[in-house]
């Protein structure tokens, strides 16, 4: 709710992390007008125009930073381990309810913007409409609607399978007409039963048709890539964000390919490595193992997941040290990774070589850049939308402090995180 009684809101905090990655500002203030940041500086320098009425939110010694931007979520997901093939059997109404629930969890946990990377039919578009109607609340939604997939490809069950350049273009136009903010494609198979994770899906020509059409309309493209051929196809065709991005050959072996990294850097493409997803699976299965009820299939899953996590960490670390830029996206609530814990993925970025400050940038400014919203969001600076996270402690010193959420501010207004209606 916008508080119309005041001309300005003035936020004071002991520490300000602006999201750009530079030095922190001590004893800082942010002046907000109509949900937009007007001025950022130290507490002495930031003052409202004389005569204006000001609402002051004094957070004492707490830290403020940009609201977190999770560039990879699945609002439809339940996060109880069920695979997409099962999830998709739920009716659209039920998945829309789940989406609203997840959206709220994101917001209450400090995520003020999410990019949804694939949902069934119109469910996320419906959620957005409901938010516009005032029925429910959510973070800012960057939506793709349904991911574009080949016939039988990964996430094809969500309802947007296309073949050939013309159909691909048609899918892009249809999604944009429905309100898509970006286009998600699956450039390799994945967990979808009928798909092949270690093989490419679309041809380069098809991907090019998609990126051309999307870019023409001012929309970016993100591609799910579980293996190397898909990454190369995508980067060669102008895809803007590579999701997962694991260097895996068609025989399932991990093999770091320097040319992939070169292409990333040349294109300025982002990598969203979704590191915690696999680690969460291990966490859940190990807990089950300790409790002594792991099925044989699950114990095989556990071994595979452990091996893959290790290899993925190695490869992503190498990509990072070779200069690939990361955008932080959780992939929650896919498989076991429940919504509301984006922080775990940010921490995972630290584990592959980012400093806490760099990890924060990957979840704010760079995440905004990868979503093409950095003109309005991602940093605490003038003329940006006032989406602000207040935490206790300095997260650039100890990244775990990101979990100590004190307040979430969206559009300049404090979110009632105890509103369950």
């Amino acid at each position: 709710m916008i508080d119309n009684n005041y001309d300005f809101t003035l936020i004071k905090a002991g520490l300000l992390v602006d999201g750009n990655g530079g030095n922190n500002l001590h004893k800082a203030s942010v002046l907000i007008q109509n949900g937009v940041i007007k001025f950022v500086g130290n507490q002495e320098s930031v003052v409202a125009p004389e005569g204006a009425s000001v609402k002051v939110l004094d957070y004492g010694d707490k830290t403020i930073l940009p609201g977190l931007i999770d560039c990879h979520v699945h609002l439809n997901g339940i996060g109880d381990g069920r695979v997409g093939n099962d999830l998709v059997t739920l009716p659209d109404e039920v998945l829309t309810l789940q989406s609203a629930k997840n959206a709220r969890k994101h917001l209450y946990s400090g995520v003020t913007t999410v990019r949804d990377c694939g949902a069934k039919n119109n469910t996320t578009f419906m959620l957005r409409k409901a938010v516009e109607m005032g029925i429910t609340i959510s973070p800012r939604l960057i939506l793709t609607g349904r991911p574009i997939s080949i016939v039988g490809g990964h996430l094809g069950y969500f309802g947007e399978e296309a073949t050939g350049e013309v159909e691909c273009v048609k899918s892009v136009r249809k999604l944009i007409k429905q309100g898509a903010d970006f286009i998600k494609i699956t450039a390799t198979g994945g967990s979808t039963i009928t798909s092949l994770p270690f093989r490419p899906s679309f041809t380069k020509k098809e991907i090019q048709a998609i990126t051309f059409e999307a870019h023409k309309m001012g929309k970016h493209v993100a591609a799910h890539c579980s293996s190397s051929e898909g990454i190369i196809n995508s980067l060669d065709s102008g895809v803007d964000t590579i999701i997962h991005g694991y260097h895996v050959e068609s025989d399932e072996t991990f093999n770091y390919r320097p040319e992939i990294t070169e292409k990333f850097i040349k294109n300025g493409a982002f990598l969203n490595p979704t590191l915690f997803q696999g680690r969460k699976t291990v966490e859940v299965l190990e807990l089950k193992q300790n409790q002594g009820y792991l099925t044989r299939i699950e114990s095989e899953m556990l071994e595979t997941a452990k091996y893959r996590n290790e290899k993925i960490s190695e490869i992503v670390s190498k990509m990072v040290s070779d200069g690939v830029q990361l955008a932080c996206g959780s992939d929650a609530s896919w498989t076991y990774y429940k919504t509301g814990d984006f922080q775990s993925e940010i921490f995972a970025h630290v584990s592959v070589g980012l400093s806490p400050m760099q990890a924060i940038v990957s979840a704010t400014k760079d995440s905004a850049r990868s979503c093409w919203i950095d003109d309005k969001l991602g940093t605490l600076s003038e003329n940006k939308i006032a989406d602000i996270l207040v935490v206790d402690g300095d997260p650039t010193e100890d990244i775990n402090n990101l979990r100590n959420v004190v307040d979430v501010i969206s559009n300049g207004e404090v979110v009632d995180r105890e509103n369950f209606i």
Binding site: L97, A100, T123, K129, M133, D416, E418, F420, I421
Partner: protein, 429 residues
């Protein structure tokens, strides 16, 4: 693991069966059920040396979870017509319903009877609640009401014609999960319908009630005119909704003969008094902001007089022994869910004693839904649905609004912030 036993203390326990509150008593909950109600000392003796949670509401009154026999979870309560609601996609109406369900529960309503949503929206919401993904009260559902073509709420998806179609439709509703069958036996606010005229022919209505009875399901009819009430009595309908006494020409005429039949039948009457008043309240509020137009003043007057008439008729029904229960009709018209007690207060105004009014939203309401074996009162063997309120409702029925805590299925409901729980409250002008 938390212990599954809970001992609930309160200064007064009004169990719903007796006018005399229990003092120095406690309720023992195990899992989701009430297993014992007795003197505190006795209860503490039972749980001695056992693990249990103590819920101490000393200073408060403990009552059964309340039952609202008439809700529209799809609705907004902002004055918009059903014709408009029906245009909204099912996914969005399901979201609205989920929010309304939480509001109902947070306001102390632990059981609802839904009276008409679009398509399968409420079934889908209940799926989500039953699989643990959402929370909401116990639901007694009907699916889309059975309507004639162009009849009231036909836009929700239940238009059928003739004995064959109505029978098939009843079966399909039961297959979907309907707990009872709602029929719109006169027109209503639906633009294409005629509130003063009956909807189904007797053979159709009889086929519906017969088919429902065969499966052990109750029936309820929406009746905005006398002829509809008579049809309902003739075919053994279990609940008459609105129960408006109006002649085909629109004149108000209380029919004592019909009221007598109602009193003698097993049917309950859900008079939905406040929903008529809610419109008047909103217009009065508007009038405080700006000058009403001539036409608005005329309408305001009409609504006020209509409410007064309904109140008088309800008083007469009560005097004649008709069983009246609380069914709010929210969020229909201008009446928002979370404000059920406005309706209970109207029934109180119509002549029910405080205790009768209390029962109209607890045990009697549960009886009307045929759910009194599990809810409606605090008795051993029933579900541990209870509300902790401040102030004695038998002194002032309005105290039912002062909800301090809601316990549903043996668990305390986290109702969230105070601010958010103020957001749905509708106050008089």
């Amino acid at each position: 693991m938390r212990p599954s036993k809970k001992v609930v203390l309160a200064s007064q326990i009004i169990d719903g069966t007796s006018m005399d509150p229990l003092k120095d008593h406690a309720v023992l909950i195990e899992g989701s059920n009430i297993v014992k109600i007795a003197k505190k000392i006795e209860i503490f003796q039972i749980v001695e040396n056992q693990e249990y949670d103590l819920l101490d509401y000393t200073g408060f009154v403990l009552i059964p979870g309340m039952v609202d026999c008439h809700t529209h979870h799809n609705g907004f309560g902002d004055g918009r017509l059903g014709d408009e609601i029906a245009k909204i996609p099912d996914e969005i109406l399901t979201l609205k319903s989920a929010s309304n369900a939480r509001v109902a529960l947070f306001s102390g309503i632990t059981t609802i009877r839904e009276n008409g949503p679009k398509n399968k929206t409420m079934f889908r919401l209940r799926d989500s609640i039953q699989s643990g993904k959402e929370i909401g009260p116990r639901m007694n559902l009907c699916g889309s009401p059975v309507s004639i073509i162009g009849g009231h709420m036909g836009y929700f998806g239940g238009e059928v014609t003739g004995v064959f179609e109505v029978t098939r439709y009843v079966r399909s509703l039961i297959k979907e999960g309907a707990d009872y069958i709602k029929i719109t036996q006169t027109g209503g606010t639906t633009k294409t319908s005629s509130p003063l005229l009956p909807a189904f022919n007797l053979d159709e209505l009889e086929a519906i009630t017969k088919e429902a009875k065969k499966f052990g399901k109750l029936t309820a009819t929406h009746c905005l005119s006398t002829e509809g009430i008579i049809n309902s009595l003739d075919t053994g309908v279990d609940m008459v909704i609105h129960g408006v006494f109006k002649e085909p020409d629109g004149t108000d005429k209380f029919r004592e003969d019909v009221a007598e039949r109602l009193a003698e039948s097993r049917a309950f009457v859900n008079p939905t008094l406040h929903v008529f008043r809610a419109r008047a309240w909103e217009m009065e509020k508007l009038g405080l902001q700006r000058k009403l137009t001539k036409n608005e003043i005329k309408l305001f007057d009409q609504h006020r007089r209509n409410f007064d008439q309904r109140l008088i008729d309800c008083s007469k029904m009560i005097e004649m022994g008709v069983k009246v229960i609380t069914g709010s009709d929210s969020s229909w018209g201008d009446y928002k869910l979370g404000n059920t007690i406005h309706e209970t207060e109207c029934i109180n105004m119509a002549g029910y004693s405080n205790f009768q009014s209390f029962q109209s939203v607890t045990l009697e309401a549960a009886k009307a839904l045929d759910m009194d074996n599990s809810v409606g009162s605090l008795e051993v063997g029933k579900k541990a649905d209870m509300v902790v309120i401040k102030g004695d409702p038998l002194e002032d029925i309005g105290n039912l609004r002062n909800v301090f805590e809601v316990i549903f299925n043996g668990e305390i409901i986290n109702r969230g912030s105070k601010d958010s729980n103020m957001s749905y409250i509708q106050s008089p002008p």
